[in-house]
Symmetry: C2
Subunit: 312 residues, 2 copies
């Protein structure tokens, strides 16, 4: 088979793939487009355009080395019968560590401690709190949310999961369907969205959700930026409905210079880096390699196959 | 009995103590000294002077609402047969949360993210690492160290405890005696001292310990500041033997303006705040109240009784 990578892993990784799969032809070329002879396309996803999927292709499978596929032409892919797999799950460890780091840092006053260190000033900042005994609501918990729930539980946090189905989330105290979210938000100390971007999740968190947050929680968005309208977020911050927002994702990325989020005191702008890891590419390609064996053997149960109708 | 508090808890707490113990007389007065009729002294410890312990006293028990007692006249207390209890263990939750927060923040690049937020700049800082799979050495693990070990284990960190006896530490992968510390430091990614200040621990971490740290670890001191000479610490930082130091305690506190630690880039100065908590006084007084019942009943197994010879 002809396998096209439109990103360029380290030379040792390229070599490893070729040595383990001598029966296939690999091309590693950023900016390349699939040709009529390309069988498999391995990509970060953002370079897949509708115009790339025309009739003359042989293309049957696109392996995406990222989790979010909302920028891909899903309808056209579905129409063409092209199988899409992604790398969901590999972000679990670095993202959960980032999320726990942000929570603990805010509870234990680390931003103030860093600032006082820079100012060379010995002063004990007020407002350190204990995480233990608090309540977190995780909206849209998949692999990442379950890992966050497991770790928060170790800290003595009560975790409530919220998903469409109400399907029980591992390590969560309980799981509620989306229509019961508002009542769980009332006494939440931490609200974390991990929702992907789909037609159903766009602006799914409304002003009424934020107004319901009576315990002045930390709001964290580590899913996709369009789950809440930026104007609603700013209103929640300005009215003190939320204590602090930690945002890893935004409606427009990079966040435009003129966004009012930059000028809020109580916002942490994490520039979509929470999944960063030294092991990222290796892990994504482990999934690809396992799927390549299945694909060759004609198996249909590929790992992480995307439901193109649902968008995740 | 006459019970003197030389710190002043919230009025509601004072009232609660008096209501629960109507048979005793309480005085709450900062700066006060025990009189000849004082039976029990409740203090943060720093105001207990050798001259306070003269012949004419009735004083039999000092209940210290803190963990460190190194500033108290231990020999004189021992000589006078005065029982000392402290509040060790109540720092467990807030300190472990602070320690985990500092570790995760450094691994996940949060100081850079905070700085970029302040500068209103969208840039992805390099150097995020994963905590999972790393190795931590905890020197002097008591209740706090065991809690840190438990939490680090949940993150997939291999924890090695190090104490005088080699007594097995809960949640640690293994525990080694102090004479085997150097070899464990060689591949440590995190080195955490929780040692108290005693004659044995003063400057117990020497230049040879820091030079042995080949994996360029984060060094954290949350025990007492005199475990390492400040000059040795600065040398370790300047030579890159350690990647970063997070210091909650110092040989002299407040850390003097002229200390070279202030001018190191890779130091976090946490001004002895890691144990801060809204629940601090309540928890210390819960121990005191339990001990007061035992004391009245003439029981000898008081909770958290200090060994005045060992100093902890």
């Amino acid at each position: 088979m002809n396998i096209l990578f439109t990103f360029e892993p380290k030379p040792t990784i390229q070599q490893g793939l070729q040595e383990q799969n001598p029966q296939h032809d690999f091309v590693f070329q950023k900016g390349q487009k699939p040709t009529t002879s390309t069988d498999v396309w391995v990509t970060y996803g953002e370079d897949v355009k509708e115009s790339d999927l025309d009739e003359k292709h042989n293309l049957k499978w696109i392996s995406v080395a990222s989790a979010g596929i909302e920028k891909m032409p899903l309808e056209k892919l579905s129409e063409k019968g092209i199988v899409v797999t992604n790398a969901r799950g590999i972000h679990k460890t670095p993202m959960a560590e980032s999320i726990l780091g942000h929570i603990l840092a805010l509870y234990r006053n680390l931003p103030a401690i860093y600032q006082l260190t820079v100012e060379k000033e010995w002063r004990r900042p007020k407002g350190s709190r204990e995480l233990k005994g608090s309540k977190a609501v995780i909206i849209g918990p998949g692999a990442i949310g379950e890992e966050v729930a497991r770790l928060l539980s170790a800290f003595g946090v009560t975790v409530v999961g919220c998903n469409r189905s109400g399907r029980e989330v591992d390590s969560a105290h309980k799981t509620v369907p989306f229509q019961n979210l508002v009542e769980e938000l009332e006494d939440a100390d931490i609200v974390l969205s991990l929702l992907p971007s789909t037609a159903d999740t766009k602006h799914a968190l409304t002003k009424s959700h934020f107004k319901a947050m009576k315990a002045n929680p930390i709001f964290m968005n580590f899913g996709r930026g369009d789950v809440a309208d930026e104007a609603v977020l700013v209103e929640a911050l300005e009215n003190g409905w939320i204590r602090h927002a930690v945002l890893d994702v935004f409606e427009i990325e990079p966040l435009p210079k003129e966004s009012p989020l930059w000028s809020q005191d109580n916002v942490t702008i994490s520039p979509h880096v929470s999944s960063h890891s030294d092991y990222y590419v290796e892990r994504a390609l482990e999934i690809f390699s396992r799927n390549l064996i299945k694909w060759e053997q004609g198996e249909s149960d590929l790992e992480n196959q995307v439901d193109l109708k649902l968008g995740y």
